[in-house]
């Protein structure tokens, strides 16, 4: 006669000697390393994304009479990549042979330095990115056509000594706004990408801290 599943379950666990409780060892060490590893993976992925995007954009700009903007954006993105790669090298120097608390604290400190530095740079590179893009448009074939259409007869009044003052003024105001809010935009950008890792890091630090006390 076949045994019922209820019998198999009950009898199985009655005689089972393998209900061994796993040891709760090294949990926080593993979690700390896991968070840092995840951050590293995302960081490398985003770096490559910037490189690939800038190369593709350069190729696109070449074939679409937009080369000036393509070169500017390529240079800007790759400068950012270079700076951040140098910062990233210091992350690999963090000592892993310390307690989870020390390890995660040193990672947190590294992160704060990295974020502070990028936040400062953001006040420059967001407006620069905007200016690069607009200048690229300005000097592109299509852009020139639009400009001739807008600033040609009978719109010459917008030109002062041949300079499209209102155009430049508008661009300057927007670039200025990017310069003012660059840091905030960077933080928003950062949290959209790495927010879940930061939340986990915060949670983990709180846990370890609570344990320490």
């Amino acid at each position: 006669m076949e045994k019922s599943i209820e019998h198999i379950w009950k009898h199985g666990f009655d005689v089972e000697n393998k209900l061994i409780v796993p040891k709760l060892n090294d949990l926080y060490n593993r979690k700390s390393k896991h968070i840092v590893a995840k951050f590293k993976r995302m960081f490398i992925f985003n770096t490559w994304f910037l490189i690939i995007f800038s190369v593709l954009f350069l190729i696109y700009s070449f074939f679409n009479g937009f080369l000036f903007g393509g070169i500017l954006i390529f240079v800007l993105f790759n400068s950012l990549v270079l700076i951040n790669r140098n910062l990233f090298k210091t992350l690999n120097k963090l000592d892993t042979n310390v307690s989870s608390f020390e390890y995660i604290t040193s990672f947190d400190s590294w992160l704060k330095v990295q974020v502070a530095m990028n936040k400062k740079m953001a006040h420059f590179y967001y407006p620069l990115l905007f200016v690069c893009f607009m200048m690229g448009l300005w000097f592109s074939d299509g852009g020139q056509e639009v400009i001739n259409e807008v600033l040609g007869e009978p719109h010459q009044i917008y030109l002062v000594n041949g300079v499209p003052v209102y155009w430049v003024l508008g661009m300057s105001i927007i670039a200025g706004l990017f310069a003012i809010f660059g840091g905030a935009i960077y933080k928003l950008d950062l949290y959209l990408m790495y927010g879940h890792i930061f939340r986990k890091l915060e949670e983990l630090m709180k846990d370890i801290n609570e344990l320490k006390n």
Binding site: I8, G12, P22, L27, E203, D207
Partner: protein
């Protein structure tokens, strides 16, 4: 997590956690990860327990939720699982129960959907329909029907394998 909390509030219910975690994992390594995560989450959520239900019910609910969340994450990262197949094969011997019928039953349970696994585990743990419904977050009315359907499916899966 403090030792006192673990010893007094989790360890007496470790059997529950082990049974649930084993239904959602295929290797000793995964099982230990799930077990540790469940313990950690129980500790983190300890202040949310208001005593509306039994502590054991609370543990069932948390364990199932965590396992279901983990398994979803794992499905997302399925490509990594293939790479780990060798490791799973290496550890599977240590992972099996000594009771062969129990192994077969677990294998059959793992073939069910995630929610059906939760329902049958709670049923086998002799939880009432009301408690199962409360833990799963569904109406008690359809639990009985669902349990019968799952049992039928398990019988088919085990057909001829257990005497």
């Amino acid at each position: 997590m403090s030792n006192d909390f673990y010893t007094l509030k989790i360890l007496p219910y470790a059997g529950i956690i082990i049974k649930i975690c084993r239904a959602y994992t295929d290797s000793q390594e995964d099982f230990e990860d799930y077990y540790q995560e469940v313990c950690l989450q129980i500790w983190r959520s300890r202040e949310q327990f208001r005593g509306d239900s039994k502590w054991s019910t609370w543990i069932y609910r948390l364990s199932l939720n965590i396992c279901l969340t983990f398994i979803k994450k794992k499905q997302k990262n399925k490509q990594h699982v293939n790479a780990d197949n060798k490791m799973i094969a290496d550890t599977i011997d240590n992972y099996a129960f000594s009771d062969e019928s129990l192994n077969l039953l677990y294998d059959a349970i793992k073939k069910l959907s995630e929610i059906d696994r939760a329902v049958i585990l709670l049923y086998l743990e002799e939880k009432s329909q009301k408690e199962i419904a409360e833990i799963i977050g569904t109406s008690p009315n359809n639990i009985g029907v669902r349990v019968n359907r799952i049992k039928e499916r398990l019988k088919k899966l085990l057909d001829g394998k257990i005497n």
